[in-house]
């Protein structure tokens, strides 16, 4: 226990770590707030720069950016009616009407406090649940990992887009991209088309920057003329009475955030929408009707999306399966630093786990400080014109892709994936599952072959063991349920269509 506390406070007692966490949180708020910049994009670019750093330093910075970024999206949603991040879409529904009523300051203050509150609940859940999940995960074999990875791709594919088939396609595409190069088990060339360059595989950092950075930059060109609506901001710190009134709702929706965040593949945006829906269904007498400036419509999504951060770390740290797109990128960062997320990471390097919990807690405190200050500078920065901003992001992306191997080929891959990502997005495919597929693909490939070899290549035995092993059967049931819940039959049954 004392040892864990020591690791927990490691980032608090080192000035450099404190500074990195503060800088990360501050930068995250602005990155999250500027429409067109996303946390995933920022973390993708960042890992290519920080891979030479000590892992703790990189994680401190990333923790700050992640927490700050999830919160930052709410500010532009409230002030400019443009959600800075997908997780803030629900926030804008009531946040902007509140700003129009002259209550922008109050809305920002309340949002900040409930975000921090949600963040703490998420971190608490991470600290309590992760060691238990890791113990459970020690019982997992290749078959369970195969199913979990498949479930993760399926979930992110089905929850993040309108079409399940497009979601599965995107996940499979990512897994296929991950197969390019030498087979890790036999050393055989796969999908390299005789190219020596491709034998080394495709850098997933370049692919991530392409899908999340370049594709987004290109897509933003359609919104160059979108003019933000400025608001006056006054009186930010919310009254105790207001906080007390909304604390029970924030507690409930933080719980939703933790659970949704912990589902492999689901993230803060889905958590926020579900929490908003929960508030709409359960709050009998909102301060104003929902959609017209109800404070409940701010409290629910904002506490949930920040709670989802802690939740998303649970499957990442314990199973090596990302809770959302950002944690998918963080897994990439851990791999680059020679670490393998999963139950053994918790056992072999417990200091890393408690360090992450400590950094997140510290970042959450900084979130409260930065969230309640600097609104005037903030308004200026988020109004940076896109014709200036987009080329700058592109240059940063190019430097990021180049820096990882000092190889210009990675820059070309980044551009190729960026253009592909743009068209995929335009035609209704999500790029999140592609990146998730790239991260989980090698695990699925390895797990499948290990499980198959364990049955002496007996296909029938391989299939039946999914049903006869309790753990496999439970996860398989979840996979089947996810698939069935997306069918027209199920939607008709539930009266959704």
């Amino acid at each position: 226990m004392m040892e864990a506390l020591g690791y927990f406070f490691m980032s608090w007692l080192d000035v450099k770590m404190v500074l990195l966490t503060a800088v990360g949180t501050f930068a995250g708020i602005y990155i999250g707030a500027i429409p067109g910049l996303s946390v995933t994009m920022a973390v993708s670019i960042l890992i290519s720069f920080t891979f030479r750093w000590d892992i703790n330093e990189a994680l401190a910075l990333i923790s700050g950016i992640y927490l700050g970024g999830v919160y930052g999206g709410s500010r532009s949603a409230i002030l400019l009616n443009i959600p800075g991040a997908p997780a803030a879409i629900a926030t804008g529904l009531d946040g902007y009407p509140l700003a129009k009523l002259g209550e922008a300051g109050q809305a920002i203050g309340l949002t900040t406090v409930v975000s921090v509150y949600g963040g703490f609940i998420g971190i608490l859940a991470l600290a309590i649940a992760a060691p238990a999940v890791a113990d459970l995960a020690l019982m997992f074999g290749p078959r369970e990992y195969l199913l979990l990875a498949f479930w993760g791709i399926l979930l992110v594919g089905s929850l993040s887009g309108q079409s399940l088939s497009k979601g599965i396609f995107a996940g499979a595409l990512g897994a296929l991209i991950a197969c390019v190069g030498l087979d890790p088990m036999t050393g055989e060339n796969r999908l390299t088309f005789g190219s020596l360059q491709m034998s080394a595989g495709i850098s997933y950092v370049a692919a991530m920057i392409g899908f999340f950075g370049v594709a987004e930059v290109i897509a933003q060109i359609h919104q160059l003329d979108l003019k933000p609506v400025k608001q006056n901001v006054s009186k930010i710190i919310p009254s105790w009475g207001l906080l007390k009134k909304y604390l029970p709702l924030a507690t409930r929706t933080s719980g939703i955030g933790v659970v949704v965040g912990a589902l492999p593949g689901a993230g803060g945006d889905i958590a926020a929408l579900m929490a908003y829906d929960h508030a709409k269904r359960t709050v009998k007498n909102p301060s104003r009707p929902f959609g017209e400036g109800a404070y409940e419509g701010l409290v629910a999504p904002e506490s949930a999306n920040n709670a989802a951060v802690g939740g998303a770390y649970i499957p990442m740290m314990t199973l090596g399966i990302p809770g959302d797109a950002v944690t998918a990128v963080i897994i990439g960062a851990l791999y680059i630093h020679g670490l393998k997320p999963g139950p053994m990471l918790m056992i072999e390097t417990p200091h890393l786990f408690w360090f992450v919990v400590g950094s997140l807690t510290l970042a959450n405190i900084f979130l409260l400080i930065f969230g309640l200050t600097g609104i005037k500078i903030f308004a200026k920065i988020v109004e940076t014109p896109k014709p200036v901003l987009l080329p700058l992001i592109l240059v940063l992306s190019a430097v990021g892709a180049y820096a990882i191997n000092n190889n210009p080929v990675d820059v070309y891959w980044m551009l190729g994936f960026g253009v592909l990502g743009y068209f995929l997005k335009m035609y209704g495919f999500q790029v999140g599952p592609v990146v998730l597929g790239m991260i989980l693909g090698p695990m699925m490939d390895r797990s499948y072959r290990q499980a198959m070899m364990a049955t002496n290549n007996d296909g029938w035995l391989f299939v039946t063991e999914f049903f006869t092993t309790p753990l496999s059967a439970i996860i398989l049931a979840a996979v089947v349920f996810t698939l069935v819940s997306q069918t027209q039959w199920w939607k008709r049954l539930r009266g959704l269509n």
């Binding site: 290109i218 430097v399 180049y402 693909g441």
Partner: protein, 169 residues
């Protein structure tokens, strides 16, 4: 009543390309180790490509069934250009391609500065003096931060590299 969103211009062609690409990848994956063994290196790529083919076909079917965009005054190509590939976007992507190619030849600083100026102009930032200063300032910051804090070695360029002072490499 159908609740499907209308078909975007070029969507059908894109889905057809997706199917053809998936089929090609399935064939390529099959050629890795054919059906040597059920746990051979080619099985997982085959599974992925097979899944892509099936879901690609489903997406093609969805696109086929969706009604095209209501505006019938323009051809599909015109609609595609307006909705998905406007001139600004094509020019910007062309500038990115040029920038990527120029990185190795003229080096990071020169190519980035030229790219920033030209793309700001193309995207509609008409204040040339502001563009000149913002580009220079941002590039300076990127260079200092990434060369010092992140120790990133930026390309010096085969053409301009030999003439570039050491501290700018």
């Amino acid at each position: 009543m159908s609740t499907n969103p209308p078909r975007l211009p070029g969507e059908l062609s894109f889905m057809a390309l997706v199917v053809v690409f998936s089929a090609f990848m399935l064939w390529t994956s099959f050629r890795i180790s054919k059906f040597d063994s059920i746990s051979s290196p080619g099985v997982f790529p085959m599974f992925c490509a097979g899944l892509m083919l099936v879901t690609g076909l489903m997406s093609l079917r969805q696109a086929w069934k969706a009604s095209p965009s209501a505006d019938t005054h323009q051809t599909v190509f015109q609609q595609f250009v307006i909705q998905l590939a406007p001139l600004k976007l094509i020019l910007f992507v062309a500038l990115i391609v040029g920038y990527m190619l120029a990185l190795e030849v003229t080096g990071f600083l020169f190519s980035s500065y030229a790219f920033l100026l030209m793309s700001m102009q193309v995207l509609g930032s008409k204040k040339i003096v502001v563009n000149l200063w913002v580009s220079a300032l941002v590039l300076f910051c990127i260079f200092i931060v990434f060369r010092t804090a992140f120790s990133v070695v930026l390309p010096a360029g085969s053409l301009l590299g030999p003439y570039t002072p050491e501290f700018l490499k």
